[in-house]
Subunit: 247 residues, 4 copies
């Protein structure tokens, strides 16, 4: 079986401008995630400053699962590329959105909602509770795990009801948050995972990486034998139609 | 208690161009629906050829529930108006989408999916089964009801999992369809209801109208006491934060 | 419109045996809840030591919504009464389960799962976050509310996926919990609400009572016009059957 | 990797008493299903007339996925065995319920509802539409498949909202039915699949068998690393509790 191809998209702005972030992720969040995941997957990297944000038709066609980290650059992502990514999700490409990607154009597009939340940067403790311990994304994950310092995201998180809420976070400052949520959109699987603020070494944490690995394996498209095209006109009915329209 | 204000949006194209449709809906689908619903509600009408498609900020601000019928004009609906309608749904305006509105920009926007389906124009019989007889939208609706001639829509219907599937249709030609589905998007309730092809007198049918009436009463925003603004920065934590970030 | 009839079932054991609890609820939890709810509803009271636990056919027939508080007496509730309550829920009676009723026979019966959870009695602070501020059960409830001292219940809560998660709790000791969850079972609506430990004056709290009031109004059966009997044999088909079974 | 162990439980009554059924399933429905599935799995067989209905602790302990076919014998299945099967589902054993098992004690136990439906024995045509073509249970299954003669089951099917509706049936006589529905109960996955009336050769049909094979592979427990025991008392909190109870 050939390796899953994972494309890691990172806006890659903080790491080039902010000394504190550069220290945590000298090669960028995208390369750190790949290094932590190891050689189980094939990788493609794409960043916002590349032509077509690095997400050409060719790159996306080869992608089994796309990981998306973004924050300050959301507004500058071109709508045409968002259209393209959405189309690929509907065709079966997996999509994993990390942390501040909750406010990305592609997540809002797939959710149809505002995707707002409460937030605070106070380096506080986060404890993620595994609410669905039997879900493939929770495989090997303990009942709970902790991140000593993270940005806080709190409810009300303005999303549609998830298919499954896999993790709920407790924050030291007093909030809670649905931190791992799954969706199906067309043929594609979507997972939003909360942690990963750029100033903290969250993607150095093996449990966080294990969740991402599980999510990749879960989101990978298995194929469907016989998918109908978008809106087929079925002129010949399967059964004889006897109804007669009144004159 | 003041009356609910219902805005009925109709692209109003077929009724002005097609003799057959004009005969069924001489004053337009929008006016027929209002006439059938009667004086229980206040009405506003809006059509595609009006400035801003008739959906000015003022009209939408006064709208409790928006009904949307559209078919051949989807592509010509301005994105700025779609943005505006979506924003009002997220703020609590109810939205009822009828028949070919499944392929409207606003429905696709709120779903995040392609919204495709199988279809056939063969004037065949449709029987709608009430799968959730206790849902407010099914109040007063029998176990099933029939439409002698309708366009066929068949599964796979490319939508996210609904909150509730209220009706499932049987078609004489051999297909089935999730014909009444509910969603929550932000503070707004959304109902998609399948029947209503322009060449058939479907909106003359009292049971169809009763479903729409129920849906209006269900979708009307009841208000929420204390809704947070989009993405508040909560600088002062609720609890004392003792975590210290390592140097 | 006649008043909704609310039957409050309380095992009524702690209040008669434990001095601390007696001080908080001298007349029993059931009477305190009714007193706080006020004269909006008709009340019936039922306790475990009454014949048929106070839940005769007649009492249940008159009940629109049943509230259930129980803790140490679960095992001694008769199965025949549990059958009877379940049957009434399936026929449309609303059911609100409070606090340790998560482990009652009737809740397990309706859920089909073990309904276990983590717990701790440490008089710690609980903060309930309103995750669905637009749900009827959240009407008038702020973004969050606090109980200064409560028993802790923590995830993994072994329940089926709820229809809606209305509240999620944060606990001072480090846990989270889905504290307000809704279900539909047959024609009946079910709401589980977490707070209410017998040693704390939780049911003296107006916000807690407002949630219960909202839940009563939400759970009250509105009726369904045309509900089929349990398993009707439809001998005469709706459509002509032309299939022939091969010999 | 060792083979999955599938236990096929069949009440095995019709096949021993009814000549017509004996002709279709001379060795019983259970053996026919195993023969069709082939040597991919290890099999255990259990029938109602065996001691403990063949479902001893030992047999269940070895079972990865249990298949259940039953019809006229539901009432005679011992409650203690139903308890035992439920317990194993909650611990992770997969459960696939076929056809008239919708009215079995174990299905009602796991659902909490009445599980009624409309029905008719008229040898009519059934067409199953694949509503979730990307679900693992639909792998290799076409957009629709047909059974030339089946018993009819029609909506309203009195079940809780499924996790996923994978198939919806169209019946020649005019009804529709949610024919393939998934649930999670505790650590266990549950799939109800409608077809399989004893007088028809439905389990001779390779597509029906492919659905069952997919369901076995989907329902097999993958394990969870760190599952809490039923209701642990967590005496030592994770965080320091500072709240003080008022005197």
């Amino acid at each position: 079986m050939s390796k899953t191809t994972v494309t890691i998209w990172n806006e890659f702005i903080h790491e080039q401008k902010d000394e504190k972030v550069k220290k945590v992720y000298p090669d960028g969040i995208h390369r750190k995630i790949a290094q932590m995941l190891g050689d189980k997957y094939n990788y493609q990297f794409a960043t916002q400053d590349m032509p077509e944000h690095g997400l050409t038709q060719d790159v996306l066609a080869k992608t089994d699962v796309l990981i998306w980290w973004a924050h300050v650059g959301h507004a500058k992502v071109e709508d045409a590329i968002v259209d393209r990514v959405q189309q690929r999700v509907l065709e079966g490409m997996g999509l994993i959105l990390l942390h501040s990607a909750h406010y990305s154009k592609i997540f809002k597009r797939l959710m149809g909602t505002g995707c707002g939340l409460r937030w605070r940067e106070a380096n506080e403790k986060e404890r993620l509770w595994t609410v669905e311990p039997f879900h493939p994304i929770a495989k090997g994950i303990p009942q709970y795990f902790e991140l000593p310092n993270e940005e806080m995201y709190g409810e009300r998180f303005d999303i549609p009801d998830p298919d499954k809420v896999v993790f709920i976070s407790w924050f030291e400052g007093g909030e809670v948050f649905r931190s791992g949520v799954t969706y199906t959109r067309g043929m594609g699987k979507v997972f939003y995972f909360r942690p990963g603020h750029e100033t903290h070494p969250t993607f150095h944490n093996p449990t966080v990486i294990k969740v991402i690995e599980n999510a990749i394996d879960w989101a990978k498209y298995e194929g469907a034998t016989d998918v109908m095209k978008a809106a087929p006109n079925i002129k010949v009915p399967l059964e004889t139609i006897r109804s007669v329209e009144p004159k």
